[in-house]
Symmetry: C2
């Protein structure tokens, strides 16, 4: 994620420390996934292509540095427990991506063919399980069980969020509260955990750890809303994954929920017809264009954008009481970048 | 599993202690899976119907009692760590069952409709992930990370075994060594871990813990061979799950591997044709009967039975140096039951 930022000179040392941390996290993931069986090894190598912005390990590292602003060199703030936590968060995230692609029948992920499209759903389901197990195993290399306890809880939370989403598929009366409940669980919980682990393993007290968690939670929800927007309005070549999948799988996104709730009955009826057409084989492009027009008419794209911006402001305010530091500045910049990113 | 045994009077106290332990394990699983979300709660309640013989928690309890033969009452040998270990092993096992049913497209599991057949593959994949996370979370409630480390390692091992099996699907030249490699990983590793955890948490030294693990490993492989035999020769109404699935999914089982390796080229060709027919829509029953005949001609069913019996003898000899106790006798009875069971 830090790589998306146009980093000013005074933040370069933090940026470089993040890069060094990410390199260590990558190594740790590779060694945690290593297998003596060539077919397993091959699949693990493939999953490495999914690696994207590494937001979660980046947040672990930045939270650590923000909690210990006086460490020199900066890298001293990043401990073994941070490397493990960052790797674990990324591995859990990768596992959910691999399984999501099975559920979404997606063919492309970060410009690489998905495991399911290349090797079938079976290999993808088992590989996801392998990633989960490797993540928990790595957790258990830490001295205390706290990290495993938190990651286990988050693992359950994010699955519960996915199940709630699945349960509400094609529910065109889904309200915003339930939407936020789903997103909080399935996306924000792991991002919040990454921030909390970064702070906790840097010796932060309960208050500061809560602030970082709260930062991550707001950031995570904003991040998902931006993902929703990109799924509707993004460019597949830029985003690097299959788009329009939310609509196709009957997942209601924030713009659509707002639109359906604020439309008059006739318009609602027309939109539902358009939604059906966007997943059909005919006139799909035309239906998508008409839908985009309808969403614009009710100001629903703007509503989602404003909501994401409000969440970013909330995230930033959670870190306001912390002492100023380059790492804190970088976290605030990352928060802003969530709603301006095009990928 | 103990419920399959015709328990002699002198083993009744052990049997009753196992029953009490299993009741505690069941409660622990239910509380570990509890969710505030009704759709999640519903799926978890459904999975409880999958609960079968509870072999893994039974082994945890019996290993504990066999390591502390002098405890009175017997229940004092079964600690909190045993309840957690038993619950964790069963939950990991349930998670793999839920995912296996997706992979196998199975409709029936222990006489209940599978999650995938009732709620779709998506719910089943996420539910399996939920079960895994809940298992690891429960592990982390123990003071030391050893159990999580072992279960995490076993989780990776069993996925690797499944991937190796998948990689060898339709490989009609699969040799017995690779077959044992697959079975050791995908089935025996968790059963071996249950035995080791039972012993370790009862204060067994490294040698005794190794003996219990080795008992579980041989038992687990024998168990899988018996499963292979039941898939070929069992009665669905008795076994309680879809049969013939191994053949249909191109999984080579021990009788078939032996048959193909010991057949002359013409017979090999005929068998491969029959195998194709068993997964086709026409004359399936006739093809299955002819296949059973071919397997009998090369003595392959007998070969698999004898191999399972040899493994059971190996398992029992691993426990031979331990002091005699009712729990040890029950473990030996369980080992014998593995190859005589019809379900």
């Amino acid at each position: 994620m830090a790589s998306m930022l146009d980093v000013p000179a005074d933040l370069l040392p933090v940026h470089q420390c993040v890069s060094r941390t990410l390199a260590r996290v990558e190594e740790r993931i590779a060694s945690a996934l290593a297998s003596d069986l060539p077919p397993v090894e091959r699949l693990c190598r493939h999953v490495e292509k999914y690696r994207g912005k590494m937001i979660r390990p980046t947040l672990v590292a930045l939270a650590a540095m923000a909690c210990r602003p006086d460490e020199a060199p900066l890298d001293r703030a990043v401990t073994e427990a941070h490397i493990v936590s960052g790797a674990v968060c990324e591995m859990v995230h990768l596992a959910t991506l691999v399984h999501d692609d099975v559920l979404d029948e997606a063919d492309v992920r970060r410009r690489a063919a998905t495991v399911n499209s290349l090797h079938g759903n079976e290999a993808a389901v088992i590989l996801g399980d392998y990633l989960f197990s490797a993540a928990y195993r790595l957790c258990a290399t830490l001295d205390t069980p706290d990290t495993t306890l938190l990651i286990g809880t988050v693992g359950m939370t994010l699955c519960a969020g996915e199940l709630l989403q699945l349960h509400n598929r094609q529910n065109f009366s889904l309200d915003e509260n339930t939407y936020f409940e789903i997103v909080d669980r399935k996306t924000a919980s792991l991002i919040a955990a990454a921030c909390r682990l970064g702070a906790r393993h840097a010796g932060a007290g309960p208050d500061a750890a809560d602030r970082f968690e709260s930062f991550g939670r707001s950031l995570g929800i904003a991040f998902q809303i931006q993902d929703d927007l990109l799924d509707l309005t993004g460019d597949q070549a830029v985003v690097g994954k299959s788009l329009g999948k939310d609509l196709e799988k009957g997942k209601l996104t924030l713009p659509l929920i707002h639109h359906l709730a604020s439309s008059r009955p006739e318009q609602r009826g027309r939109t539902l017809t358009l939604l059906e057409a966007t997943s059909g084989p005919h006139q799909r492009g035309a239906a998508e264009d008409a839908l985009a027009g309808a969403l614009a008419d009710t100001g629903s794209i703007d509503h989602a954008r404003r909501t994401a911006e409000r969440l970013v402001a909330q995230a930033k305010s959670a870190l306001a009481p912390l002492p100023e530091s380059p790492a804190r500045s970088m976290l605030l910049m990352m928060a802003d970048a969530v709603v301006t990113r095009a990928f």
